[in-house]
Amino acid sequence: MNEIWGNESVNAIVWHWPIALYLFLAGLSSGAMMTALSVEWMNPKRKAPWDAFVKAGVLIAPITIIVGLIVLIFDLTKPLNFYQLLIHYNLKSVMSLGVLLLLFYTPLCAIYAILRFRLTLSKSFLWPVMNLFGGVLDFLEKNSLWFGRLVFALAGGVGVYTGFLLSAIQTYPLYNSPILPILFLASGLSSGIAACICFGILLFSEEVSKEKTKYLLTMDLRVIPIESLLLFALFVGLYFQGGDKALVVLSALSEGSWAMIFWVCVVGFSVVIPSVIALTALKNHAYKVNFILLNSISIMLGVFALRMYILYAGQLYLGA
């Protein structure tokens, strides 16, 4: 029926998939950077040649965050006005705080990558530029432990801020939870580890060490139970708040295609498949390249599905 007061389903979905893609890429960047730095710090010498996972991580981090930001800017309804975000700041807005964070994180993360690929870059056509900034790079290299710690902290900030961005919204019960930032940090880390393993093996196979692979696989296997617990706590926490919020949980987990996506893609790809692979094919963390790749691709897909699920289900399931 055409209601005389107008259509009620206007604006059902405010934020679409590019936002989920950005949330995924930002989480991936932060996770990959933290992984790369942890692997680097495991090695007491901290000198070139760098481990494959360090190389993969520092390469993935700036690329994913830059691609993510481009997606985000073009998703604005007024992309040409985006500079307004850089000249006006509202410190009460999580988005503004995020802009500030990314303003430091993105370039520093790119500089860290340049530092780790210094030899390669110096031999390429970019050598005059590399020579020009030689002094700065030497200084950063000398203090790379502290520089790394700063980047690590900023990466952690980027990992949680994407969660706070959504949890600040009271309109959608599924967003409005204090668990969300921690869940996003954990799942971002999980996808970052997976991406480091995957691209480390694919791009820098000669520097791959079995010992580090084993370490990262173990680390990922520890993040997965934490992530599952956080998902569990998110839903149980909302359920115990009762009223509309309890109804949101019940429908978000049982009704419609998004419930299906949750169980198949989120739980299946990021929890069940990696656990099965880890307990069977990779038992005792045996070095089986194909299974390792399959494992990490499954985790990345699952983490992307989680972002999509939270973004859409949050806007669709409102309880009342």
Binding site: W5, G6, V10, V14, K78, Q84, L85, N90, S93, Q170
Partner: protein, 189 residues
């Protein structure tokens, strides 16, 4: 300095929708989108004691504004008269305010590419005639517009004598759109 507010008296409303139409024509609201809706529910009760419920959906002009606090560029702001408004020049179109509004009062205007909503006809009817278009056309005086800071304003008297409700008060947004609820009830389980 004023603190503009509005009373929607659902006891006087007859659901004629003239306010909605006045709003559309005054503010050139694009087809299929709304700054203001008055939804009709019912009839409720047992014949012959039937009644309808009328509910106004529009910007609630919160005192504590979720849309203003999430806006990264201060494009969403409260002006000196307490009207929550949007500065199109500062807006980048991130739509954070649309999702942050707990009353779903905002929509994206496809022509301006900027979120749009009721602003008490600030740039149109209020500027020219001293009250919003919806108030001036209401045939039953179900809408009262006024200044909460002025004790001599009629709105002040209504709000100090009548029972009123505000939507989603548990959120602490302190809306300045007050509803005088329907007196007629119905048992519903």
């Amino acid at each position: 300095m004023m603190k503009y507010a509005m009373v929607f008296n659902s006891q006087k409303c007859i659901g004629c929708q003239s306010c909605s139409i006045a709003c559309r024509s005054e503010n050139k609201v694009p087809e299929g989108l709304y700054r203001l809706q008055v939804k009709i529910q019912g009839p409720k009760g047992v014949f012959p004691n039937l009644a309808f419920d009328y509910e106004r959906f529009s910007c609630q002009m919160c005192e504590n504004t979720p849309c203003v606090s999430v806006c990264p560029t201060h494009a969403s702001f409260m002006d000196e008269n307490g009207i929550v408004d949007i500065d199109a020049n500062k807006c980048v179109g991130c739509l954070y305010c649309i999702s942050a509004c707990p009353y779903h009062a905002r929509f994206l205007n496809p022509q301006t590419k900027v979120p749009d909503k009721c602003n008490f006809c600030k740039d149109t009817h209020l500027k020219l005639h001293g009250e919003p278009a919806c108030v001036s056309v209401c045939p039953t005086d179900a809408l009262v517009f006024g200044d909460l800071d002025n004790m001599n304003d009629p709105i002040y008297e209504i709000l100090s004598k009548k029972n009123f409700t505000r939507k989603k008060e548990h959120l602490g947004t302190k809306p300045k759109l007050f509803t005088i609820p329907n007196k007629k009830g119905e048992i519903k389980l």
